[in-house]
Symmetry: C2
Subunit: 320 residues, 2 copies
């Protein structure tokens, strides 16, 4: 396969990651970056005229947010382009799938939805692990990494100028799962939360800390530590977007024979790695389309060999 | 899906593991165990009359060895049954694939070859990891576990009555890969070998040890430790068949952003876990067949959702 023409829709952290990832794949060429904002980029193209690109692009990488961008863009574009998205609002995946599937079927296109690493690779591992160890228990741990949603929640607290929140998996809980102990773990036992906070001028540090650690849903069920830092320190030490985590399953086959299956990620850039998964899934989407398939797909539906740039016979000879 | 009727061909360690695994999957029922030996088992059926079972069985699990059983059985049976095998003679996979593919296509059947954990899950991870981190380097480590081939090699040495060989991954080498150092690792640096040996009456221990540690291909390139034990000790402490290992890939996306992806297995029974993978792949084979597909497949060709007993919409809602 050569020269897959790619368009990126949205140019935030994920879109910039997609640009880097497309460049790392010699069978792909980036042709356009669609954004509603004006961009100082030679490939910037107008979002309003995206349908004019129907014959120029093999696949779109949708890099907008799950709150408002993707629920609108994916169903609107799936009739006209093969595409991939990272829709991650878990409760709304069935309705997103239905809307995108209908559009993709109308247009004879393939749309891979909700991919990345979670949802995405982690989801794949959960399904695979349960299939090969049906008598067992699975666990997912996230971190150490920056949670954008929790960072935003801290920023909304009065007196907070800026903040960064790290989700940290419990080494103790991980060790218990790895030992085969098969523990029941509470929310508080699995993860802790660590906040770096820049205060507004004159804000009451104790009141801010109390507001954070008692915030329902986000922090109240966790052990949360708050550190106050200067804006310069936040910028210097906490401007990256690392993330990662672990999917584990411990189970039994014959009597007394326990097994542990584990998948782990340590990512120095969450958006760049997420984009890399989207790009590999885009390759698979095109191959499904060339087989005559259409409709919405998830990573559960993709033969993993189709994500690879290598031919099937080469994978069998060299990697199997 | 309910009531998949399964036949097992071969009743050694892997076949017994398959029996256990089929029992752990409520959508499957074991109907026959084919063996050339006479078995004291209510489901024993004659290998010579296996073709009489064509209408009774949905899928065969081939549980013989790669040296002589599978190269003969898989092409002979793939025309008549959907089947799964664990063929693991790496250099001969392309020819095995071609022979099985031709037979399966003739009969309109699906045959999943060379599955298990390596080849199998490890192969899947190698392909997936390279696809999502093209700028990187992958490493596979095996163990700690019993290598049947190396144990057999020790047993063939004059003066050895019985033996068990463990392959042990180097913690130092693993740590270097996990640190993102991306090391060049020699054979000796990646694994060591540990042998428990029962001597023949009157054998020369020093001569036996020297013959083991200098054995070309099997031990000469490794740091090998030999312990002499009694037959009772070998039976008591080393009768299990544990195995496992790690597939890792370390790579970069944008400048300075490194990522580590890791998959690991710790198995207390290598044959039982291998059989569990075969059984899950058998479910996928049947689903591909029901889509009208035929021919040989590997784990690279299987949408992982098809390995699961759950319906696609349930996986999207509950696991994605």
């Amino acid at each position: 396969m050569s020269n897959i023409s790619v368009g990126i829709v949205g140019y935030g952290n994920l879109g910039r990651g997609a640009e880097i990832s497309v460049a790392a794949n010699p069978d792909m060429a980036l042709k356009a970056i669609f954004s509603r904002r004006s961009l100082d980029h030679p490939l910037h193209a107008s979002m309003e005229k995206i349908l004019d690109w129907r014959d120029e692009l093999d696949v779109l990488l949708l890099c907008g947010g799950s709150a408002t961008d993707l629920p609108e863009q994916a169903p609107a574009l799936a009739e006209h382009f093969h595409l991939v998205d990272s829709f991650d609002t878990h409760a709304r995946i069935p309705e997103h799938h239905a809307a995108v599937d209908a559009a993709a079927l109308r247009g004879g296109k393939i749309a891979v939805i909700s991919t990345g690493w979670d949802p995405g690779l982690f989801s794949l591992m959960r399904v695979l692990f349960e299939a090969v160890l049906p008598r067992g228990n699975g666990h997912t741990f996230w971190g150490r990494g920056v949670s954008q949603g929790h960072s935003d929640a801290v920023r909304r607290i009065p007196g907070v100028r800026d903040a960064r929140q790290y989700t940290i998996p419990s080494e103790t809980a991980l060790a218990r799962v790895r030992s085969g102990e098969n523990p029941e773990l509470s929310t508080r036992e699995k993860h802790s939360r660590l906040c770096y906070v820049v205060l507004e001028e004159g804000a009451d540090a104790a009141a801010v800390e109390d507001a954070i650690v008692t915030l329902p849903h986000y922090f109240a069920d966790y052990d949360t530590t708050v550190h106050f830092v200067s804006a310069d320190e936040l910028e210097r030490d906490h401007s990256g977007l690392p993330h990662g985590g672990f999917v584990l399953r411990s189970g039994e086959t014959g009597p007394g024979h326990r097994h542990l299956v584990e998948f782990g990620l340590q990512l120095e850039s969450n958006p760049e790695f997420t984009a890399s998964v989207l790009v590999a899934c885009a390759r698979a989407a095109l191959r499904l389309a060339r087989r005559g398939e259409s409709g919405a797909r998830t990573i559960f539906d993709l033969p993993i060999g189709l994500l690879s740039p290598h031919a099937s016979e080469d994978l069998r000879r060299d990697v199997l």
